[in-house]
Amino acid sequence: MDLILVVDDDPQIRELLREILEDEGFEVDTAADGHQAFEKATRRRPSLLVLDLTLPLVSGPELAARLREQDGAPIPILVISGDGRAPVKARELGAYAYLHKPFQIHDLLDSVTHGLRAS
């Protein structure tokens, strides 16, 4: 089954994304910061990363750069953020798509499906 790793410092957003994605039948794990996300992604490589940009310890862009340095196929990254400059930042860190908070569930699921197909 495809594992999706959700990384957001807000526990309510992590829980919401978990509920939505599990409801669609995905296996979901969550991380509260970039450091924890890196540890989890190293232990078991997710099929897709749903990423917030503002994270404590290791920021979203730093996390993306560290994951790219690892062996294996790159993990597709979907950025979800409320930051006005997020589209630019998402492109810079190599994300394949970007969603603005608050998002529509069907947009999220379309983006996730697209990212998994492309990987």
Partner: protein, 270 residues
């Protein structure tokens, strides 16, 4: 001849004075420009943090309502336990938004040098601290929040605002110890020559506050130089804490060492 030389000196003196005045004026203009740039940067950062703080609960409300409609649309109904869980999340997100907006309104009012209208009622500050600590504990696995001290301590305070004070202090202790660890909150009854006090102390082992920032930490929009751009925050939390505590006739103090953590101690009269 002497008059001519005197006239030249006078002219030179006037020129130098003019140059000095122009320099001074330029320096003043540069300094004003730097001040207004600094203010604009602070304001931009504040607005972006506020937008972030409001957008997240809004995303929760928006997301759970869509999810409930989706599940109900697919199955014809939604299991009661799931509905209760989602509605609880919506309620918490709405309460969080309301609290953020109330804080913003208070800060705006205080910025205009107007005082807060306190709604005092009899309440137990020890129970209030335990509730806020339990709520924050749910949101973190990396931190252990320990509550110590008396079981009950009754006084007359503004409940919503005191909740905000304790929320800001415990929230900061968590936010500014990103590696996790213990957060200790104690509630004690203290007495001195000035009267009886409820004392709440919040101690963390986090990033601490640089010595240069300590004198400014309760100023509106001020944020520690070691957290700006690295850890979230609006720069109004501690300003809010100090204003609320002082308007209750109390005090708030901080002790901190960069890299070792911070202890905030607040006292409100009993």
């Amino acid at each position: 001849m002497t008059e001519d030389i005197f006239g030249i000196f006078q002219l030179l003196a006037a020129l130098i004075a003019f140059e000095l005045e122009a320099d001074e004026q330029q320096r003043r203009q540069i300094s004003q420009l730097e001040d207004s740039r600094r203010e604009a940067a602070l304001r931009d950062e504040f607005l972006s943090s506020v937008a972030h703080d409001l957008k997240n609960p809004l995303t929760s409300i928006h997301g759970y309502t869509q999810l409930m409609a989706r599940v109900a649309g697919r199955a014809g109904s939604i299991p009661t336990t799931q509905a209760i869980r989602h509605l609880g999340s919506i309620q918490r997100a709405a309460a969080r938004m309301a609290a953020s907006i109330d804080e913003l309104m208070d800060v705006t009012r205080l910025g205009a040098d107007r005082s807060l209208e306190l709604h005092r009622e009899e309440l137990d500050i020890a129970a209030l601290v335990r509730d806020v600590a339990a709520e924050h504990q749910q949101g973190t696995e990396r931190h252990q929040i320990n509550v110590e001290g008396v079981d009950t301590l009754i006084g007359e305070w503004d409940r919503a605002r005191l909740v905000r004070v304790v929320q800001n202090l415990i929230g900061n202790a968590i936010r500014y110890s990103p590696d996790g660890g213990d957060v200790t909150v104690s509630v004690e009854r203290q007495a001195d020559a000035t009267g009886n006090w409820a004392e709440v102390r919040v101690r963390d082992r986090g990033v601490g506050i640089p010595a240069a920032d300590l004198p400014h930490i309760f100023e509106r929009f001020h944020r520690g130089s070691n957290v700006v751009g690295r850890l979230g925050g609006t720069g109004i939390g501690l300003f809010s804490v100090q204003q609320i505590v002082e308007q209750h006739g109390g005090t708030v103090a901080v002790e901190s060492h960069e890299g070792q953590g911070s202890t905030f101690t607040l006292r409100v009269p009993l």
